[in-house]
Assembly symmetry: C2
Homo-oligomer: 175 residues x 2
């Protein structure tokens, strides 16, 4: 029952709420669920792998495979403002560091659902955790859902963590 740590990939993204440059509510929920219900006190038994997929835009953001495993990795980086999504990963890496859970974090560019499944294939985690907004079927049609795609296509066990009703923002499409 010892052996290599259980590698849990957590797909994280930024909030869609304007003027709120932080992790989405459902990403935080997925992360906290993983810590509280799975990792618990067994911090050395797990390794968390944070993947942030950045949708390409006009900013000409470039792919970045650099891996961040501790808060120090974020310090003294040149041009850190140019790298979107970095603050997001810093949040999760810092939290893991406080608790003592080993982690890695990286950013990829592309269609989130496709890239997540591609990274699962490459990295082969033991479990993929994806937050979701928990929208009804009618709302889902308009936003598409990354979690449903991953459930069907990711080549590893997947658990989706629904946002709690108490945390749903005014517009449930926001996250």
């Amino acid at each position: 029952m010892a052996g290599e740590a259980t590698r849990v990939m957590v797909a994280v993204n930024e909030s869609t709420i304007k003027g709120y440059p932080h992790a989405s509510i459902s990403s935080k929920g997925a992360f906290e669920w993983t810590l509280n219900k799975i990792v618990r006190s067994n911090t050395s038994g797990f390794k968390l792998l944070f993947l942030h997929v950045q949708v390409p835009d006009e900013d000409g953001f470039e792919d970045m495979d650099s891996i961040f495993a501790s808060p120090d990795d974020f310090k003294g980086m040149k041009n850190r403002n140019k790298i979107r999504g970095l603050q997001l990963l810093e949040y999760f890496v810092n939290r893991c560091h406080e608790i003592g859970v080993p982690c890695e974090a990286w950013i990829k560019k592309g269609d989130p659902k496709e890239v997540i499944c591609h990274e699962v294939k490459r990295v082969q985690p033991d479990l993929l955790v994806v937050g979701c907004r928990g929208l009804g079927p009618f709302q889902r049609v308009f936003v598409g859902t990354v979690s449903e795609f991953c459930l069907k296509h990711a080549e590893c066990p997947v658990v989706t963590i629904k946002r709690s009703a108490a945390e749903t923002p005014q517009d449930p499409i926001d996250d």
Copy 2:
């Protein structure tokens, strides 16, 4: 990070292979995955809840809510042969006892997918683990899948564990 144990419900069923009165391959896979990847050495941090849903038949099997939490609970039972599915639960309870993971086990009668979701609502586990055969879309049409139904309808996080290719029996519909 201490607090109440994480309660993991594992839905288990009997093998469909003739003359093999044991747990199905996918049930065992789901159970072993839970132990190896989630519980690991943190045996006091988890409680496993084994639910076996018995499809009603001509034998006139009666519903049974009795709970089995240790191997002793199975000893000295009267008419134990009359209670189908008991040997199945005994297997899982014995394994947990050996390892030192607290558990409970019970049997319900009905349509497995409906009953599992109903029991999730009643018992409110932190996670439901369901094994599945990992059939292709063509094969699935003919057998229906409990795991897909649970993914959609169970009111808790669900993880489905696919049977490994190496363990697939001659007829992949068998389990």
